[in-house]
């Protein structure tokens, strides 16, 4: 068995909060640069140029690239040979968020109760997803999920008869309806299969893949390519002002499903895609 003190988790999470919010990933920057080359709309090109310039300010001045520094989403892949010492794991994660958002001058965007809507004041709690895997490693992924794009996400329980075409129609319609609202160019995470709840988790996991990477399954990769092509014909463009780059990528994750069901979930991510991973 390998022992990990939860104080180390707190320190890692604190660092991930600021790292993700100040420094956009190289995969995203590469994707934006490639979009800039392809974009036909002058206004669209101007928007992408500003986004690249903004990313540069974030990195140089160590400031948040977006004022919505997100809901803290934590994915933990926990090797089953790991034993935690110190304190409670969830509390250690939340303490990391608390420190990261306070010391990193990030915005506190979480309210205690959806109806009363009183701010928790420290951006906790995080949404924590844990997968138990083999081995003695611990992989922690932090994602700062903005509210504007999360609000444009949708899910549906299609019938098996609707099939591939039904999935394409639903995903494209979700992006069309979202229009300028989720800060295009977007990353479209699609979860296919599983159950009602599990499809939405798959959609979020899909977003966390390197930007523009295709699914290893060739059938799913071809679906991703077709979806991206169709979405970029919508004309929405950067910031919805018209153009070719509505989405930078469409990423699909799948899971087996019931003979009666075809769950599909679309999780929309803005261009300000802030995620970082650490393995210990």
């Amino acid at each position: 068995m390998r022992q990990i003190n939860t104080e180390q988790i707190t320190e890692i999470i604190e660092r991930l909060c600021t790292d993700a919010n100040y420094n956009l990933g190289d995969d995203l920057i590469t994707s934006l640069r490639s979009a800039l080359e392809k974009e036909e709309s002058p206004l669209g090109r101007e928007v992408i140029t500003q986004l690249l310039e903004n990313a540069e300010i974030g990195r140089k001045e160590q400031v948040p690239v977006c004022q919505d520094t997100g809901f803290a989403i934590i994915f933990i892949e926990l090797g089953q040979e790991v034993v935690f010492t110190g304190g409670d794991l969830q509390e250690a994660v939340n303490e990391g968020i608390r420190r990261g958002y306070k010391n990193g001058l990030l915005r506190k965007s979480i309210v205690k109760n959806p109806i009363d809507r009183i701010n928790t004041g420290d951006n906790t709690p995080a949404v924590i997803h844990t997968d138990i895997v083999s081995g003695d490693k611990l992989k922690i992924t932090f994602d700062a999920k903005g509210g504007g794009c999360e609000n444009m996400s949708r899910s549906a329980m299609l019938t098996p008869a609707q099939g591939r075409k039904g999935v394409i129609d639903f995903v494209v319609e979700t992006v069309r309806t979202a229009g300028a609202n989720p800060c295009p160019p977007i990353i479209v995470g699609v979860g296919l299969g599983g159950t009602f709840d599990y499809s939405t988790l798959l959609a979020k996991k899909a977003i966390l893949r390197p930007v523009g990477s295709n699914n290893k399954d060739k059938t799913i990769a071809s679906l991703e390519i077709e979806l991206l092509e169709k979405i970029n014909k919508l004309g929405i463009g950067p910031q919805g002002l018209g153009g070719r780059t509505t989405a930078l990528a469409v990423q699909v994750e799948t899971f087996p499903c019931h003979i009666a069901s075809l769950p599909v979930a679309v999780n929309i991510e803005c261009h300000s895609h802030r995620t970082k991973t650490v393995v210990i």
Binding site: E40, S41, P42, L43, E46, V47, Q50, L51, E53, N54, I57, G58, E61, V63, P64, V65, C66, Q67, D68, T69, L105, L106, R107, K108, S109, R117, N119, G121, G147, G148, N151, V172, G179, A180, N181, P182, C183, K230, K233, L234, G235, I236, G237, Q239, G240, L241, G242, G243, R244, C270, H271, S272
Partner: protein
């Protein structure tokens, strides 16, 4: 690249009636900020017949909830939030003389009608360009609802704040125009 139109707040009908969807502007002067929670309170004040914390006449409202400022900064990152969440509240403020709003994303028919009737403009700022936009904000003062934190109402002095006209006073809508121009039938 198109030239920018310089705008100085407060704004008058004569100025804004000349603006067209797609015009790029640089705004200097005062912007007031409000987002979800502050709007709810503002409208409750209007309904109760109370005075608002600032006179909306001729002013622009920026939908933003900034990050905290670093030492030496006047404000942290401060890009626009999605506007449709304020659609329920916007017509009341426009009727009271508000001359424009700044955010991102499309507005409801009711807001667009109110802008045509009472003469107001909807501007978009680039969502997610928050660190870049913050450089145009020169002074910030919280004037109401301090307890709301990032959602408090701020009075900002800006210089050359970059925005683009989405909805003009004649019903022009840049989101419609832009999308039609680049749409390919599928």
């Amino acid at each position: 690249m198109t030239e920018y139109i310089d705008l100085k707040t407060p704004l008058e009908n004569a100025t804004i009636e000349k603006l067209k969807a797609g015009d790029k502007v640089r705004i200097s002067g005062v912007l007031y900020t409000a987002r979800d929670a502050a709007h709810k309170r503002l409208i409750e004040m209007v309904e109760a017949g109370n005075n608002l914390p600032f006179d909306v006449k001729g002013q622009l409202l920026y939908y933003v909830g900034p990050t905290p400022a670093k030492p030496g900064q006047v404000i942290g990152s401060a890009g626009p939030t999605t506007s449709y969440r304020m659609d329920t509240y916007a017509p009341t403020l426009i009727k009271m003389g508000l001359k424009g709003t700044i955010g991102k994303g499309s507005r409801s028919k009711e807001v667009i009608e109110a802008m045509k009737k009472y003469k107001a403009i909807y501007f978009a700022a680039v969502g997610g360009a928050a660190a870049l936009i913050a450089k145009t904000i020169k002074r910030v003062e919280i004037i109401a609802f301090d307890d709301l934190g990032t959602e408090a109402i701020r009075k900002m002095e800006v210089k050359d704040f970059p925005a683009i006209v989405v909805n003009d006073t004649n019903g022009g809508d840049l989101y419609d125009i832009g999308r039609k121009k680049y749409k390919i039938p599928i």
